[in-house]
Symmetry: D2
Subunit: 418 residues, 4 copies
């Protein structure tokens, strides 16, 4: 039996019920860990009081925003990770950041168990618990959703009402949401059927393309070694850069995604995501890489980007593979420095201008005329050798070579050649 439990607490219905349930069930003090990864001011206001009112013994609030952006979001951005071609991994990437800080809080406060409020059908339980396993393999893990008999939102509300747990939620809430500095996700309700277009009411951070301004805007993003460092020429700290970009891109309806994805736990789910600033950054970053990365590096990195996305999605952040992938990526980013102007208009973010001191794009070479490095006649040899296997195959099987007969004889003398 645990003696002190550290719960990842958000103040929402699930973790409020979990808090009370843990204290009742294990009859031991519960430390509420609250990690601020940019859920929004409203979400965190008064959270300490709320936790204490729901039965917390202690509350530990950590501002993780800077770490979240620079240690998790920027590496993922540099890697070009996009899950199943669309999802910018906003929920996934927050989990290791939160899990790590929760473990630190637990150890600091002397807890011997870790708990979270994730359901038993989602990815997040996996991500939290993989972080726990890697960072604190000896702490017990408690996942109330996999233990208790509560089976639905209604059950939780009934439980909360009975214990007088202060919850704002009502039975009418339709969508399940998760928000941080990078994105907000939406699941449930009418979204459950992929034959339903997302109702407009789903979206939170972005205006509808229809309602967005009729004039385009643009933003210029500066990068150093693959990380964003400036907006419109002004150097910015990472958090405020992303916050401002979220506002500006959201205004133009940028960053909506509507996806049927394959969860790690073997089922498909439909998710709608808003990643306004992140969408702009991903577009700008790729556009800049187009100037700087050579073909072989580009193609190899694209291939690893898929793997990187799976690593993030699957919660395998604290693993040797993620570290090795990061080492690869970091090396490729050394010259990803420059600036990209992105146009924002009616739901689209489009890189329209790009500059880099390290560009390999040399128009002088790309055009028709003669130049110092490229003789058009070289192309003939290039093509001949490239197509040689096809040519040989098309010509059909070749005759056996005329090896000197004495050599042929020699190699056959022994009953078994050696």
């Amino acid at each position: 039996m645990p003696k002190k439990i550290c719960l990842a607490y958000s103040g929402g219905l699930d973790t409020s019920v979990a808090l009370t349930w843990l204290a009742e069930t294990y009859r031991c003090p519960v430390v509420c860990f609250v990690g601020d990864v940019g859920q929004g001011a409203g979400e965190l206001r008064g959270i300490e009081e709320k936790a204490l009112a729901s039965g917390a013994a202690e509350v530990h609030v950590a501002d993780l925003r800077k770490a979240f952006v620079t240690d998790y979001l920027w590496p993922m951005l540099r890697a070009g990770a996009v899950y199943e071609g669309r999802y910018l991994l906003g929920t996934s990437i927050a989990r290791p950041c939160l899990g790590k800080a929760q473990v630190e809080a637990a150890l600091e406060r002397g807890a011997d168990a870790l708990a979270h409020g994730c359901t038993g059908k989602g990815n997040d339980q996996v991500r939290f618990e993989r972080a726990y396993a890697a960072l604190a393999p000896d702490l017990e893990v408690i996942a109330p959703w996999r233990i208790w008999d509560l089976r639905s939102r209604e059950d939780l509300l009934a439980y909360a009402a009975k214990r007088r747990i202060p919850v704002e939620a009502s039975a009418e809430k339709i969508y399940s949401r998760d928000r941080n500095l990078w994105h907000i996700s939406h699941e449930g309700g009418a979204l459950e059927d992929p034959a339903n277009a997302p109702p407009e009411e789903v979206w939170v951070l972005t205006r509808s393309a229809k309602e967005a301004p009729d004039e385009p805007a643009s933003v210029e993003i500066g990068f150093e070694a693959g990380s964003p460092v400036s907006l419109d020429g002004r150097r910015r700290d990472a958090v405020s850069l992303l916050e401002e970009l979220n506002v500006r891109a959201g205004e133009h309806g940028v960053g909506r995604v509507d996806l049927v994805e394959n969860r790690l736990v073997g089922i498909k789910s439909r998710g709608c995501y808003e990643t306004p600033g992140g969408t702009v950054l991903a577009e700008a970053h790729r556009a800049l890489e187009e100037l700087v990365l050579d073909r072989d590096t580009r193609h190899a990195k694209d291939s690893l980007a898929q793997r990187y996305a799976e690593v993030v999605y699957d919660g395998a952040w604290f693993t040797p593979l993620r570290e090795a992938l990061d080492a690869f990526v970091k090396k490729t980013q050394e010259r990803v420095t420059g600036s990209v102007r992105v146009r924002l208009f009616k739901g689209s973010a489009t890189a329209v201008e790009r500059r880099s001191p390290f560009t390999l794009h040399a128009p002088a070479f790309a055009t028709f005329g003669a130049d110092a490095v490229y003789d058009q006649r070289h192309a003939e040899g290039f093509i001949r050798l490239l197509s040689l296997p096809a040519r040989i195959a098309a010509k059909g099987p070749s005759p056996a070579p005329e090896a000197p007969p004495e050599l042929r004889a020699r190699s056959r003398r022994a009953p078994v050649p050696f």
Copy 2:
């Protein structure tokens, strides 16, 4: 010396000059091969007369539109091939189709040499000549641009003027363009500097998002085994389906791409592409696959899609690798049947509704409640085993096992264990 040359002829400046130059240089009849892959009616009108006026001995016009769509575009669409994350390969994919038909025409007309008008710095020469090598390894290949002394558009115009070759081009033409049923490409002029946004005058098939209708439209695309078969519920032949989609998507500004790409021949170039219908089809196809493909197949297919795109871009169509990739893809498409509604608005094409009789998305399974196939408690075991390597590593090196001493001894008896 060739006795009869078959030239891939488009009627433009380059191939018009090439035609005259070939006849003059090799003093033999030149057959002009014209393949219709949907360049547009204007491009092909009067092309026979023009060829004969420029010195052709014979003209061979082939309508390749249906073959182009069903034998080249649909397989590529099913594969999900996108070069360097953006380019839908419109120019690349036309080359093997044209090259194959040209070879057939050459053999039929008794030519012993093949010629094309591609420059020595581009990808197209590679694509044409790889097709020639695979399909007609014994025919000679003549690439005038790599032989003659003409070095620029001005040189060509001067040559044409001197020989009275009928060309419409003037010295003021700014962009180099290539068009077919799938797309149109633009290079050159102000586009040469990636720091320049593409001027509006560049675009041909699509309206500017700004000028596009203020009301969204939508189109519903039906697929069978991964290939498009209907529009808005009406069965359509492949060519007219694509043609109509181009018009409808272009009207809404859909399908513009602006890319700095890595050419096969080792240089970077900036290209602007319009693929209106193709962009809608790619969006719809992927959205449908999201319902039907399981996770492992999805991820493996995405990885091969990159390779497929390189194969197409590099002109390696007539190779065993492309055939093997197609066999893989075909197997994955057996259940990619259903329909997707795509919204067109201000430059965006977004899948908003999707249905398939083979969907693996089972909302009943994805939601919170209990169900027949998923017990939330299963998740614990799943996570424990998934995180086991991290847990073992975090716990540190394990003690040597207590193997029975007599066994340990036995294995050491010989000086070298066997």
Copy 3:
């Protein structure tokens, strides 16, 4: 509660105890399914009587040898699948074959539950149950090792003694073994410590290299479309071909592997494997492919072979991904026809002669002299273009192009470029 259970039965200690335990625990008839995949005559002799004596209600024996070789082993051989660079997957590949036949027997006999005797720490439980899930998703699955309180070999022996279950095993058995037509595996005992060399007594199918004949032997294997069809020029059915090869290769000590592998369930284990005939076939098959596959196909296939091996190891045989991989492989094998002579000597199998009517090896082209398809001067162009990105990068950033000023101006006129 199940009404009739179909147990995968081998007659060994684990499944004998499981049989009795199932009948006792669920108080329902148990059908023993015995699949012959070449465990060896001794293993199967009297197995029916034994099953009945241990409480089976029915016994169903199926000869799966031919199907095992042609439908499972040959496809895997053609794919070139080797797990973690060493393991030829002998145990893994038998599981889907057995699982499928067990499901068929269960359905035929009206069972509503499937059971197996695999332990809860191994890979085999996963492989059996993935086959069950894909082929009979509605049958219940019972895995006694994950349910009962027996925890060790000693517990099982005590249980068997108490119930008078006829078992041959004694407490002294050291190694856990699994045998079929392809291989035999060994685990446990002194092998548990990777610092121990495998004692000679471990090995069953192969002679020690030291004791093997001092004269080499050889065998010539004929292939058609990637599958073995003959030995020393004589056509053979698949089963007898493999059986004879096992004897001949085993005599020369061929096919031993000693590996620390990563199990699917997250732990490492040390396994020793003997795959005498399979090792010879893998060597010969690859040697033949070297003549026939072009470079791009070779490299792509090698990459997929890893994935294929994971699919087999992980028990994902009855999945769309395996089918798609097989389609890829099959296409590559169309010309893998020919013969290879393999020398067997003191533990090594080495391809020494290879012939194919489809060989792409054309010594006439590979040698120094001039030839019809290769002009040495072509190499210059090839190298120049191949090294062009490096050359451009080494020369440093290129100056901005001299675009006509009016174009540069034009693209800047609007506050946001469009």
Copy 4:
């Protein structure tokens, strides 16, 4: 016209003739660069005198052995690079090492051109010239074999005789060989036909397995962070470690490979290689990694190892991709520390004992019994979720979810959903 040429000189027939030919043809001083990568004492003795006698203006001899082993061989060994499943890349990996030192010598001595004696059909010309392009893009490159009219060994001998160039070669030399600290390669003669087993006379560094000692020997290799540091427990410098291992392994016939490989230039060639020490190191390194690398890292690294091998084979050493791959590999090697005992016998090198302080192999976990980290019941959940997609697919399409009708209605109200 070059003013001073720096030639990669080996003292063999090709470069001796090239030396004289260059001086005659370009009428300028030729600096002979000789890089010692362990060709063997005999090869380099008197090489300065020979060069001067053949017309060299200067001779520059560089001892590259230590750099070759630690900066090229060890990284490649750590990466696990093996070309086409067999070739340990001995010739390939020496080229960038030699090319870099040659460029340094050229710049130091004021040369403005680089030359080599590689033929126009091989890989080595590509490897040398890619190094030149990356390191000295402004120096001219001269490849005599692609320029002169000499077409065969006989032509060279005649040329040498006429100019009285001191060459030891006779017209009877059969095999073309390349040797360094890592390996020796053999091509030509009877080897040109893959239907010929390699005659025993081919081999130089290794005894025949038949003639090898009848008693096995063994060697224990110590690694730190993936690099070999000791033999039989004694710390050794890299060069002497490899030299001794070559002798000991060669004595037992270890390291022979006979391969039909795909050259970069589009043709197949048959090569025989001897890599005695390297074969032992590769076996030992992999065996040690088996203890230390987790499954995901192992599989990702194996996949990149193929790419790494292509990079080395293709001469793409001085590229961003190789650097990025090295960064990945380096990260994975941090814990590849420990020792492995390898048995040498009759042509085989087999890891028989392995130890590492960082082993993740925990026999306590792998065996049957209960333990602290693994509850057998966890396996059920693991398997259920792993097989969930197959189960859902097998159950067939799922019914549409019962979304609340008002939501379904809402999303359809507008003619186009937004």
